[in-house]
Symmetry: C2
Subunit: 263 residues, 2 copies
Amino acid sequence: MNKPPMLDLHPGVCAVHEMLELLGVSVDPGQKLPDMPLAVRRLRAGQSLFFEGAPAPSIYVVRAGTFKAFHTAEDGYEQVFGFARRGDLLGCDALSGDRHLMGTVALEDASVYVVALPDFYALAQSLPAFYRGVMRAVSGAMIDLTQLADMMAAVASEVRLARFLVHLSRRMSNCGQSAKSLHLLMTRRDIGSYLGVAHETISRSFAALATLQLVKVDQRKVEILDLAGLQGFAQGTRAPAKASSGAAVARLRPPGRALALAA
Amino acid sequence: MNKPPMLDLHPGVCAVHEMLELLGVSVDPGQKLPDMPLAVRRLRAGQSLFFEGAPAPSIYVVRAGTFKAFHTAEDGYEQVFGFARRGDLLGCDALSGDRHLMGTVALEDASVYVVALPDFYALAQSLPAFYRGVMRAVSGAMIDLTQLADMMAAVASEVRLARFLVHLSRRMSNCGQSAKSLHLLMTRRDIGSYLGVAHETISRSFAALATLQLVKVDQRKVEILDLAGLQGFAQGTRAPAKASSGAAVARLRPPGRALALAA
DNA sequence: CGCGCGATTGAAGCGACTCAACGGCAGTGG
DNA sequence: CCACTGCCGTTGAGTCGCTTCAATCGCGCG
């Protein structure tokens, strides 16, 4: 079947204003905004925004939808690095090289602003608010990656999954959406790759969290029943570094490793 | 004993020029540079540049030395997120909040440029080269975090360590230093935290790589004997995603999991 | 000199990986 | 309209590698 055209052109200040809002900066209503034309690209679920190894003429700001960023190894193994949502920046990895180090695919119908690199630099130059927004977004992306490392650092797979769910929940509530009811758009395999465990283990970990009454799981619909409990459960770490410095050792949760499944 | 004062003030364009070089951008010799005073802070090994949770009035550009960025959990477990070297940006994590999400400590004597946030924005505004340099550095930091995820994603601990060493080697050669002979400044526990394994496992993995004749290890001095072999060994991934798309499956190295130790 | 910490090595237990089979759902094509 | 085919998700069984606990050695620093 024929799809409608995927590329619009929104002229004028209104689009710039919306992008600044997306980036989390507020501008004076009286502020004069450059009327640079802003391209919008719409994608269907499953379409790629850009491919790994492709040249990078632009960066992107997600307007709607969800993306998966990933890297494919020589042997075909797919490593997932993150899930981008409204307000996130995509394509930044190519700013220090000239090619994308990862591919990006839409997990649902989506739309992004396309900012050509020259425009990107020109906007940052002429519009301090844009620069601040970009730095905000970039900083947020680094925090996300940091939290990814944090999730992967957890020993027990159930703890990794709990951290992942807490992370998702926080992101949802930051967007003003419900923090309790999640509709996952990615497969178990995606989550497994993201968290560094096999996809079967993700299944089992979901079952374990459900048994603990922390969440209710029905395929990709996840309901958080006890957010506080889930957060507490997510705190479990590996054996601490021998309490060398006098860090406050207030052990909120489980004794050492993970959980004793109540039958 | 009394230490010399740790805060210098370098006035004039020369410092700005050096910082731009650090950030990897080249400027025309004739270019007029703003003569903004640039603070330099020097640190002894073991000193903290800033603490987790502290307010973030500035960002930093590493001039010399090596830093460790980490986060301390409630139970005292220390998660390492990265090691920063000459040319790296520090403190970016606070740009989207107003507090540092991780602490930073010098692993050897070091010095950094201290750029107050207002100056940071003013410089970016008035000096396009600075802006480009910052974006370059930030993009590089994101790539580093991405590679961290890549290291932690490897199943076998020896593969993780191999990737870590390759990563270090590349960074060294990017700085124009020897890529074969590494002097690690971090402890086994730091590496273990960074790679998501116990520090004993790091020891054993070093021994395994040494047995394979890929490296020679003497405490913190590591010599790479076979860089190509190490890189090949570092390719090992977890079981690929069933070769769904027709990705070229050129298996360069080990059959499935890890290694059969030759006695 | 001795204390502490980092590094190494050993032993034992368990948790995640792999392989495998099955049910469910969706998209496709007869 | 319905079989067919993939893929996703779940569950089971066995193996193996990592974690944890522990002891020992070496080095640097007070």
